[in-house]
Protein backbone atom coordinates (compact mmCIF):
# COMPACT_ATOMS: atom_id res chain seq x y z
CA UNK A 1 0.00 0.00 0.00
CA UNK A 2 1.05 3.58 -0.58
CA UNK A 3 2.72 5.34 2.33
CA UNK A 4 5.69 7.71 2.80
CA UNK A 5 9.17 6.21 3.02
CA UNK A 6 10.63 9.04 5.07
CA UNK A 7 8.84 11.70 7.09
CA UNK A 8 10.03 14.84 8.79
CA UNK A 9 7.53 14.48 11.65
CA UNK A 10 5.78 11.27 12.72
CA UNK A 11 2.44 12.86 13.65
CA UNK A 12 0.47 15.80 12.24
CA UNK A 13 -2.36 18.06 13.31
CA UNK A 14 -5.67 17.50 11.53
CA UNK A 15 -6.05 20.73 9.53
CA UNK A 16 -9.08 21.94 7.54
CA UNK A 17 -10.42 21.05 4.09
CA UNK A 18 -12.18 24.27 3.12
CA UNK A 19 -12.63 25.48 -0.45
CA UNK A 20 -11.84 23.82 -3.73
CA UNK A 21 -8.61 22.35 -5.01
CA UNK A 22 -6.78 24.65 -7.39
CA UNK A 23 -3.90 22.39 -8.36
CA UNK A 24 -4.07 18.88 -9.79
CA UNK A 25 -7.50 19.62 -11.28
CA UNK A 26 -6.79 18.86 -14.94
CA UNK A 27 -6.36 15.52 -16.70
CA UNK A 28 -2.75 15.68 -17.88
CA UNK A 29 -1.43 12.15 -18.42
CA UNK A 30 -4.33 10.00 -19.64
CA UNK A 31 -7.52 10.51 -21.63
CA UNK A 32 -10.07 10.37 -18.81
CA UNK A 33 -9.85 11.11 -15.10
CA UNK A 34 -11.85 10.60 -11.92
CA UNK A 35 -12.44 13.95 -10.21
CA UNK A 36 -13.46 14.40 -6.58
CA UNK A 37 -16.60 16.47 -5.95
CA UNK A 38 -16.40 16.42 -2.16
CA UNK A 39 -13.62 16.86 0.39
CA UNK A 40 -12.34 13.82 2.27
CA UNK A 41 -9.43 12.06 3.85
CA UNK A 42 -8.83 9.28 1.34
CA UNK A 43 -7.12 6.37 3.05
CA UNK A 44 -4.29 4.36 1.56
CA UNK A 45 -6.62 1.34 1.48
CA UNK A 46 -9.28 3.18 -0.52
CA UNK A 47 -6.70 4.32 -3.07
CA UNK A 48 -5.30 0.80 -3.35
CA UNK A 49 -8.80 -0.70 -3.71
CA UNK A 50 -9.69 1.74 -6.49
CA UNK A 51 -6.41 1.02 -8.25
CA UNK A 52 -7.00 -2.73 -8.03
CA UNK A 53 -10.55 -2.38 -9.33
CA UNK A 54 -9.16 -0.74 -12.47
CA UNK A 55 -6.28 -3.22 -12.89
CA UNK A 56 -8.66 -6.17 -12.59
CA UNK A 57 -11.05 -4.71 -15.14
CA UNK A 58 -8.63 -3.52 -17.82
CA UNK A 59 -6.21 -6.46 -17.38
CA UNK A 60 -3.17 -5.80 -19.57
CA UNK A 61 -4.56 -2.98 -21.65
CA UNK A 62 -4.21 0.74 -21.22
CA UNK A 63 -2.27 2.70 -18.62
CA UNK A 64 -3.29 4.18 -15.30
CA UNK A 65 -1.97 7.02 -13.17
CA UNK A 66 -2.71 7.55 -9.46
CA UNK A 67 -2.61 11.32 -8.92
CA UNK A 68 -2.92 11.37 -5.13
CA UNK A 69 -0.57 10.11 -2.41
CA UNK A 70 -1.46 9.37 1.21
CA UNK A 71 1.16 11.41 3.05
CA UNK A 72 -0.82 12.52 6.11
CA UNK A 73 -0.54 10.30 9.19
CA UNK A 74 -3.73 9.63 11.16
CA UNK A 75 -3.36 8.61 14.79
CA UNK A 76 -5.65 6.41 16.87
CA UNK A 77 -5.65 5.87 20.59
CA UNK A 78 -5.73 2.24 21.71
CA UNK A 79 -9.13 0.84 22.71
CA UNK A 80 -10.32 1.36 26.31
CA UNK A 81 -7.61 3.92 27.02
CA UNK A 82 -8.28 6.86 29.32
CA UNK A 83 -7.94 10.35 27.87
CA UNK A 84 -4.66 12.13 28.15
CA UNK A 85 -1.22 10.55 28.19
CA UNK A 86 -0.35 12.05 24.84
CA UNK A 87 -1.38 11.60 21.23
CA UNK A 88 -2.16 8.08 19.98
CA UNK A 89 -0.05 5.95 17.68
CA UNK A 90 -0.03 6.37 13.89
CA UNK A 91 -2.78 4.09 12.55
CA UNK A 92 -2.82 4.79 8.82
CA UNK A 93 -2.06 7.41 6.18
CA UNK A 94 -4.50 9.50 4.17
CA UNK A 95 -4.46 11.84 1.18
CA UNK A 96 -6.27 15.13 1.81
CA UNK A 97 -8.72 15.54 -1.06
CA UNK A 98 -10.59 18.73 -1.85
CA UNK A 99 -13.32 19.14 -4.51
CA UNK A 100 -11.83 19.28 -8.00
CA UNK A 101 -8.85 17.02 -7.39
CA UNK A 102 -8.12 14.38 -10.04
CA UNK A 103 -7.67 11.09 -8.20
CA UNK A 104 -7.03 8.61 -11.01
CA UNK A 105 -6.33 8.88 -14.71
CA UNK A 106 -6.60 6.27 -17.40
CA UNK A 107 -5.38 6.24 -21.00
CA UNK A 108 -4.84 4.00 -24.01
CA UNK A 109 -8.34 2.47 -23.90
CA UNK A 110 -11.55 3.06 -25.81
CA UNK A 111 -13.84 5.54 -24.09
CA UNK A 112 -16.51 3.05 -22.99
CA UNK A 113 -13.97 0.71 -21.33
CA UNK A 114 -12.13 3.59 -19.67
CA UNK A 115 -15.39 5.03 -18.31
CA UNK A 116 -16.48 1.65 -16.96
CA UNK A 117 -13.10 1.15 -15.27
CA UNK A 118 -13.27 4.55 -13.56
CA UNK A 119 -16.90 3.90 -12.62
CA UNK A 120 -15.88 0.67 -10.88
CA UNK A 121 -13.05 2.49 -9.11
CA UNK A 122 -15.43 5.20 -7.90
CA UNK A 123 -17.37 2.58 -5.88
CA UNK A 124 -14.27 2.05 -3.75
CA UNK A 125 -14.17 5.70 -2.70
CA UNK A 126 -16.26 7.36 0.00
CA UNK A 127 -17.04 10.54 -1.93
CA UNK A 128 -19.01 11.67 -4.97
CA UNK A 129 -16.89 11.79 -8.09
CA UNK A 130 -17.23 12.61 -11.76
CA UNK A 131 -15.45 11.37 -14.85
CA UNK A 132 -13.90 14.13 -16.92
CA UNK A 133 -11.84 14.29 -20.08
CA UNK A 134 -9.05 16.58 -21.11
CA UNK A 135 -9.75 20.30 -21.29
CA UNK A 136 -6.73 20.99 -23.44
CA UNK A 137 -6.24 24.20 -25.26
CA UNK A 138 -6.43 22.29 -28.51
CA UNK A 139 -8.23 23.35 -31.69
CA UNK A 140 -11.34 21.34 -32.47
CA UNK A 141 -11.32 19.25 -29.32
CA UNK A 142 -10.99 19.05 -25.62
CA UNK A 143 -13.92 21.27 -24.74
Amino acid sequence: MLMPKRVKWRKQQRGRMTGKELRGVEVVFGDLGLQALEPCWMTQRQIEAARRAIVRFVKRRGKMWVRVFPDKPVTQKAAETRMGKGKGAVDHYVAVIKPGRIILEIGGLDEATAKEALHLASYKLSIKTQIIGRRDLMAGGGE
Binding site: Q35, G108, A139
Partner: protein
Amino acid sequence: MEQIELNVSPRTVIGKRIGALRRSGSVPAVLYGRHQEPVHLQANDRELMKVLVKAGSSHLVALRIAGEAEPHMALVREIQREPIKGNLWHVDFYGVSMTEEITVEVPIRYEGTSPAAALNEGILTYGSDTIEIECLPGDLIDAVVINLSGLLKVGDAIHVSDLKLPTTVKVLTNPDDLVVRVTHLAVEEVEAPVAVAAAVTTLAEPEVIKKGKTEEEEEAEEKEKK
Protein backbone atom coordinates in the same frame (compact mmCIF):
# COMPACT_ATOMS: atom_id res chain seq x y z
CA MET B 1 -5.97 29.53 -42.82
CA GLU B 2 -9.47 30.62 -41.87
CA GLN B 3 -9.62 33.84 -39.87
CA ILE B 4 -11.36 33.61 -36.52
CA GLU B 5 -12.80 36.82 -35.12
CA LEU B 6 -13.83 37.70 -31.60
CA ASN B 7 -15.65 40.82 -30.48
CA VAL B 8 -14.38 42.13 -27.18
CA SER B 9 -14.81 45.34 -25.26
CA PRO B 10 -12.42 47.25 -22.99
CA ARG B 11 -12.85 46.38 -19.33
CA THR B 12 -12.96 48.86 -16.49
CA VAL B 13 -13.84 46.33 -13.80
CA ILE B 14 -10.74 44.94 -12.14
CA GLY B 15 -9.91 43.36 -8.80
CA LYS B 16 -12.54 41.85 -6.53
CA ARG B 17 -15.52 43.11 -8.55
CA ILE B 18 -14.67 40.59 -11.28
CA GLY B 19 -17.05 38.05 -9.67
CA ALA B 20 -20.07 40.20 -10.56
CA LEU B 21 -18.79 40.50 -14.14
CA ARG B 22 -18.55 36.72 -14.46
CA ARG B 23 -22.06 36.25 -13.07
CA SER B 24 -23.38 38.63 -15.73
CA GLY B 25 -22.13 36.33 -18.50
CA SER B 26 -18.82 37.98 -19.36
CA VAL B 27 -15.34 36.59 -19.05
CA PRO B 28 -12.41 38.84 -18.16
CA ALA B 29 -9.46 38.70 -20.53
CA VAL B 30 -6.21 40.50 -21.15
CA LEU B 31 -4.26 41.29 -24.29
CA TYR B 32 -0.52 41.78 -24.04
CA GLY B 33 2.42 41.54 -26.37
CA ARG B 34 5.99 42.49 -27.08
CA HIS B 35 5.31 45.92 -28.51
CA GLN B 36 2.10 46.85 -26.75
CA GLU B 37 0.82 47.83 -23.35
CA PRO B 38 -1.49 45.30 -21.65
CA VAL B 39 -5.20 45.98 -22.25
CA HIS B 40 -7.94 44.67 -19.95
CA LEU B 41 -10.81 43.18 -21.96
CA GLN B 42 -14.07 41.37 -21.48
CA ALA B 43 -15.92 39.01 -23.81
CA ASN B 44 -19.22 37.19 -23.93
CA ASP B 45 -18.60 33.74 -22.41
CA ARG B 46 -20.51 31.71 -25.04
CA GLU B 47 -18.90 33.51 -27.94
CA LEU B 48 -15.48 33.18 -26.32
CA MET B 49 -15.92 29.45 -25.70
CA LYS B 50 -16.80 28.89 -29.37
CA VAL B 51 -13.70 30.80 -30.44
CA LEU B 52 -11.44 28.88 -28.04
CA VAL B 53 -12.67 25.50 -29.30
CA LYS B 54 -12.10 26.61 -32.88
CA ALA B 55 -8.76 28.34 -32.41
CA GLY B 56 -6.91 26.31 -29.81
CA SER B 57 -3.45 27.53 -28.92
CA SER B 58 -2.00 27.71 -32.42
CA HIS B 59 -4.53 29.64 -34.51
CA LEU B 60 -4.55 33.41 -34.81
CA VAL B 61 -7.60 35.21 -33.46
CA ALA B 62 -8.56 38.67 -34.74
CA LEU B 63 -9.65 40.61 -31.65
CA ARG B 64 -12.07 43.38 -32.58
CA ILE B 65 -11.98 45.76 -29.63
CA ALA B 66 -15.06 47.99 -29.43
CA GLY B 67 -14.16 51.54 -30.50
CA GLU B 68 -11.06 50.54 -32.47
CA ALA B 69 -11.00 50.25 -36.26
CA GLU B 70 -8.19 47.72 -36.74
CA PRO B 71 -8.34 44.20 -35.26
CA HIS B 72 -5.47 42.94 -33.07
CA MET B 73 -4.01 39.60 -34.15
CA ALA B 74 -3.44 37.41 -31.10
CA LEU B 75 -2.86 33.87 -29.91
CA VAL B 76 -4.63 32.32 -26.96
CA ARG B 77 -1.85 32.01 -24.39
CA GLU B 78 -3.54 30.80 -21.20
CA ILE B 79 -6.98 29.80 -19.99
CA GLN B 80 -8.03 29.74 -16.34
CA ARG B 81 -11.08 27.69 -15.42
CA GLU B 82 -13.30 26.84 -12.48
CA PRO B 83 -11.90 23.45 -11.39
CA ILE B 84 -15.12 21.40 -11.27
CA LYS B 85 -17.53 22.80 -13.85
CA GLY B 86 -14.81 24.05 -16.14
CA ASN B 87 -16.39 27.50 -16.63
CA LEU B 88 -14.02 30.11 -17.98
CA TRP B 89 -12.44 32.34 -15.35
CA HIS B 90 -9.93 34.31 -17.40
CA VAL B 91 -8.23 34.22 -20.78
CA ASP B 92 -4.82 35.61 -21.80
CA PHE B 93 -4.30 36.75 -25.40
CA TYR B 94 -0.79 37.28 -26.72
CA GLY B 95 -0.66 40.01 -29.35
CA VAL B 96 1.67 39.17 -32.26
CA SER B 97 3.38 41.20 -34.94
CA MET B 98 2.88 39.67 -38.40
CA THR B 99 6.51 40.41 -39.35
CA GLU B 100 8.21 38.83 -36.33
CA GLU B 101 8.77 35.13 -35.80
CA ILE B 102 7.03 33.57 -32.82
CA THR B 103 7.44 30.34 -30.88
CA VAL B 104 4.27 28.28 -30.54
CA GLU B 105 3.36 24.87 -29.13
CA VAL B 106 1.38 23.01 -31.79
CA PRO B 107 -0.75 19.99 -30.86
CA ILE B 108 -0.13 16.59 -32.42
CA ARG B 109 -3.19 14.79 -33.79
CA TYR B 110 -3.38 11.12 -34.67
CA GLU B 111 -5.29 9.53 -37.51
CA GLY B 112 -5.75 5.92 -38.51
CA THR B 113 -5.02 2.92 -36.30
CA SER B 114 -1.86 0.97 -35.72
CA PRO B 115 -2.18 -2.68 -36.90
CA ALA B 116 -0.11 -3.82 -33.88
CA ALA B 117 -2.44 -2.10 -31.43
CA ALA B 118 -5.55 -3.25 -33.29
CA LEU B 119 -4.43 -6.89 -33.04
CA ASN B 120 -3.69 -6.45 -29.31
CA GLU B 121 -0.01 -7.23 -29.78
CA GLY B 122 1.04 -4.02 -28.08
CA ILE B 123 -0.28 -0.67 -26.87
CA LEU B 124 0.51 2.79 -28.12
CA THR B 125 2.60 4.85 -25.73
CA TYR B 126 2.52 8.54 -26.47
CA GLY B 127 5.36 10.94 -25.83
CA SER B 128 4.68 14.64 -25.92
CA ASP B 129 1.24 15.92 -27.01
CA THR B 130 2.74 19.01 -28.61
CA ILE B 131 5.81 20.15 -30.49
CA GLU B 132 7.41 23.56 -30.33
CA ILE B 133 7.80 25.41 -33.61
CA GLU B 134 9.09 28.80 -34.70
CA CYS B 135 7.61 30.64 -37.67
CA LEU B 136 5.94 33.84 -38.82
CA PRO B 137 2.37 34.21 -37.53
CA GLY B 138 1.06 33.97 -41.09
CA ASP B 139 2.67 30.53 -41.56
CA LEU B 140 1.22 28.99 -38.40
CA ILE B 141 -0.28 25.52 -38.61
CA ASP B 142 -3.26 24.31 -36.56
CA ALA B 143 -1.87 20.89 -35.75
CA VAL B 144 0.59 18.23 -36.87
CA VAL B 145 -1.30 15.19 -38.17
CA ILE B 146 0.35 11.77 -37.81
CA ASN B 147 -0.83 8.59 -39.48
CA LEU B 148 -0.53 5.60 -37.16
CA SER B 149 -1.03 2.93 -39.84
CA GLY B 150 2.76 2.65 -40.31
CA LEU B 151 3.26 1.23 -36.80
CA LEU B 152 3.17 -2.46 -37.72
CA LYS B 153 4.92 -4.26 -34.86
CA VAL B 154 5.99 -3.82 -31.24
CA GLY B 155 8.95 -1.46 -31.06
CA ASP B 156 7.95 0.68 -34.06
CA ALA B 157 8.05 4.36 -33.20
CA ILE B 158 7.60 7.83 -34.63
CA HIS B 159 10.01 10.53 -33.50
CA VAL B 160 9.89 14.30 -33.93
CA SER B 161 12.42 13.99 -36.81
CA ASP B 162 9.90 11.83 -38.74
CA LEU B 163 7.25 14.56 -38.79
CA LYS B 164 6.53 16.23 -42.10
CA LEU B 165 6.13 19.97 -41.68
CA PRO B 166 6.05 22.89 -44.12
CA THR B 167 9.44 24.42 -44.97
CA THR B 168 8.35 27.77 -43.50
CA VAL B 169 8.21 26.19 -40.07
CA LYS B 170 11.27 25.51 -37.88
CA VAL B 171 10.98 22.76 -35.29
CA LEU B 172 12.53 23.62 -31.91
CA THR B 173 11.72 20.36 -30.14
CA ASN B 174 14.58 17.84 -29.96
CA PRO B 175 14.40 15.68 -33.14
CA ASP B 176 15.07 12.50 -31.10
CA ASP B 177 12.04 13.03 -28.84
CA LEU B 178 9.44 10.31 -28.98
CA VAL B 179 5.99 11.04 -30.38
CA VAL B 180 4.41 7.59 -30.31
CA ARG B 181 5.68 4.03 -29.92
CA VAL B 182 4.16 0.56 -29.85
CA THR B 183 5.17 -1.08 -26.57
CA HIS B 184 4.56 -4.48 -25.04
CA LEU B 185 1.34 -5.04 -23.15
CA ALA B 186 1.57 -4.44 -19.42
CA VAL B 187 2.27 -7.47 -17.24
CA GLU B 188 -0.89 -8.69 -15.58
CA GLU B 189 -0.83 -8.12 -11.84
CA VAL B 190 -1.20 -11.29 -9.77
CA GLU B 191 -3.06 -10.62 -6.56
CA ALA B 192 -1.47 -11.90 -3.38
CA PRO B 193 -4.13 -11.72 -0.65
CA VAL B 194 -1.93 -13.21 2.09
CA ALA B 195 0.77 -10.61 1.61
CA VAL B 196 -1.81 -7.81 1.63
CA ALA B 197 -3.35 -9.05 4.89
CA ALA B 198 0.08 -9.07 6.51
CA ALA B 199 0.74 -5.55 5.27
CA VAL B 200 -2.56 -4.33 6.72
CA THR B 201 -1.94 -5.74 10.19
CA THR B 202 1.63 -4.43 10.48
CA LEU B 203 1.93 -0.87 9.23
CA ALA B 204 5.62 -0.28 8.62
CA GLU B 205 6.86 2.91 10.26
CA PRO B 206 8.44 5.41 7.89
CA GLU B 207 11.90 6.66 8.68
CA VAL B 208 11.92 9.98 10.52
CA ILE B 209 14.34 12.54 9.11
CA LYS B 210 16.48 13.58 12.06
CA LYS B 211 17.79 17.06 12.69
CA GLY B 212 21.48 17.69 13.12
CA LYS B 213 24.38 15.48 12.15
CA THR B 214 24.30 11.71 11.73
CA GLU B 215 26.72 9.45 13.67
CA GLU B 216 28.86 8.93 10.56
CA GLU B 217 29.20 12.68 10.05
CA GLU B 218 30.14 13.17 13.71
CA GLU B 219 32.79 10.45 13.49
CA ALA B 220 34.22 12.01 10.34
CA GLU B 221 34.33 15.40 12.06
CA GLU B 222 36.15 13.95 15.09
CA LYS B 223 38.73 12.34 12.84
CA GLU B 224 39.34 15.67 11.13
CA LYS B 225 39.89 17.37 14.52
CA LYS B 226 42.45 14.72 15.49
